[in-house]
Symmetry: C2
């Protein structure tokens, strides 16, 4: 076999459920030559990255750092450190990532109870209170931004409620961090994980996590070793903590990238960033509605960064997505699980959340839908989006 | 807190136990804008990467791909997929990474027997045969290139021996792949893992693995789920196999990097690459011997890519390493475990294995040792190295 040629992928506009487009400054940072993972200069880089991560998570938690794996490794890290065999855990399931958390917890030996809501809906405090009362679990796990449905779980009162029952609150913030508020301390979250390739607009490969002092106490009280050596916080914290004790070789370049991505987040400012995500979402939503397209998630609980919408009747899922990619370089996501073939997932995450992308996407989608024979009013989508932009 | 400034690490010559210096072409590849992890173009990139990995592993194994984590995640992947609770496993321990494998296996619920050799020595076939006879384990794990001691384990007959006892052979090739031969098929290895940051000269963050058909059968016969969701081969193979079924988001940029690193390996050719590692090792060794420095690993079993040597009497470990780093930008490794404070580990891996580095390092070390008051013959180290270079 002749060797493959030079790497030469086509330019893309990444508007799917992640990865999002990576900011040019982050790409440039990744071309930086390496220092060693125990180099004094790298230890400073680690500190800076942790400090910035704490700001973005809005926490003072000491143990806040990026796990050396993608978002799912972050999920597994939180679960396997908090859970010992036969510990009780409640997992709230209203989409693919809740299902995944239940699977991960079962593999960790947890005695898992799931509570469920239809896809696209969110959990209310009363149903969670009932489940806590009945089960009194060690851990309750819930997804803040369900990437499979575009639903946004209200989080404000949840930590307090869990702590009434001496339960640890574990939160999936993979798609929320950097796009909508994730207030770890104020919401009394005990363990949280995210991913770099969503609203942080860094390539996939790291999973930022944070553990509260309450979670750390639970981990330090364990009677058995964490089942994963690679993800064992009792050891990893010695590398990311003051000791700098070698555990595994940190993915240096990915940490260069995350550091630059976090600098971009904090230069913009969290509030400004959240407003930008909200504004572009409103414009996209107005445009989609002008095309007669409906959201999959409940009104009032829709994520600005992940717009899951119902595919209009008579329109072929795959051929529209294929055309968007081939003709415009635009990637959007198809449906997962229950929503396979029924939903599109349009991401406006991080650097991808820009008016340019909203206007381009609506124009391109209009072209695809007109070709598919849909009766829509030409130009209406862009007009509706521009009306939103002109107002705020 | 003011935001940290632009990323600006000092230039380094990475001659420790890894990471090694990354080739400029690999760094450039990492600045490439992303395509999605399910993009048809990315699926081609995945295929190309797998094909090249098979060539480098010298295998036809279908399930050959990079795990989304560092080398230790590769170790855990091999162990947790092959082992079910209470399965018997023998781990050969003659350094830190054998110890780690035993720890990982215990956490996976294996009934672990260790056999040991003093650090710096390797295992002979007879002692392994005795252990296999006695235990008849499902899996035997051994380290090919022990990064903590610089010892090179002979591998040629080991697979055959294991298969006489119906035992699967699991091999740690983290520091060997791309630097010395790793002949997965000819040596009848059933599961093997490596890391990208050693002789492949790619940043840390991926763990290439390969599983033989015999290993895949064992995995498919499992009665229980793999304890790690993230590392479960029965699911991951559906993404890296023909189905391309979404499992977790692949670390796209790291795969860009690995693809370019593998192109560099195969452009050079495996034999030429192994000879280059051997040649630079011989020159370094001659130079070190001229300074009166001895190797930690047994003669005849020394890794060319990782030169673990005894720190000369009267020389302070930390101050020499600190000076090498501060004055020359050269990183070498200190000792781990039993060798802490007693050994230096000098890597000549991948792109770092160059005559330039050998000559520079010997010159700089000579300066440090003279300053420390050691009675050595000035110029002798470089002269000895150059004599080796002039001969081959």
């Amino acid at each position: 076999m002749p060797l493959p040629g030079q790497l030469n992928p086509s330019p893309r506009v990444l508007m799917g459920p992640g990865p999002s487009d990576v900011h040019p400054r982050v790409l440039t940072a990744m071309a930086t030559p390496l220092v060693g993972h125990l180099d004094p200069e790298f230890l400073v880089i680690m500190n800076e990255t942790q400090e910035m991560l704490r700001d973005v998570f809005q926490t003072k938690n000491q143990l806040t750092f990026p796990v050396s794996g993608t978002g799912s490794a972050g999920m597994e890290t939180c679960v396997v450190n908090l859970i010992e065999r036969d510990d009780k855990m409640i997992v709230c399931v209203n989409g693919v990532f809740g299902q995944r958390m239940a699977d991960v917890a079962q593999r960790a030996g947890a005695d898992v109870t799931t509570i469920e809501k239809p896809w696209g809906q969110v959990f209310d405090l009363d149903s969670i209170r009932d489940a806590l009362k009945k089960t009194k679990p060690k851990v309750l796990g819930i997804v803040h931004a369900e990437t499979s449905t575009g639903a946004r779980q209200p989080m404000e009162e949840l930590g307090k409620l869990c702590h009434e029952f001496d339960t640890l609150l574990l939160v999936d913030a993979v798609t929320s961090l950097g796009g909508i508020p994730v207030e770890v301390d104020r919401w009394e979250i005990d363990a949280v994980y995210s991913g770099t390739q969503k609203c942080l607009s860094c390539p996939p490969g790291l999973a930022p996590v944070s553990f509260s002092p309450r979670a750390m106490e639970a981990i330090n009280r364990r009677k058995t070793k964490v089942q994963s050596w690679y993800l064992d916080m009792t050891m990893v914290q010695r590398y990311w903590g003051d000791e700098r004790f070698y555990h595994h070789t940190a993915p240096i370049t990915m940490i260069y990238a995350l550091r630059e991505a976090l600098r971009l987040v904090l230069e913009e400012g969290l509030q400004a960033r959240f407003q930008r995500h909200e504004r572009n979402h409103s414009a996209l939503k107005a445009g989609l509605q002008a095309l007669g397209i409906e959201y999959a998630a409940e009104e009032g609980y829709q994520l600005p960064q992940l717009n899951a919408v119902k595919i209009p009747g008579g329109v072929d899922d795959a051929s529209v997505r294929k055309r968007l990619l081939a003709e415009f370089g635009i990637e959007i996501g198809g449906g997962l699980g229950d929503f396979k073939g029924k939903a599109w997932r349009i991401g406006l995450m991080g650097y991808s959340s820009r008016a340019n992308n909203v206007l381009l996407f609506l124009s391109a989608l209009e072209q695809c839908l007109l070709s598919a024979g849909l009766k829509i009013s030409a130009g209406a989508a862009v007009a509706a989006a521009n009306e939103v932009y002109s107002k705020n």
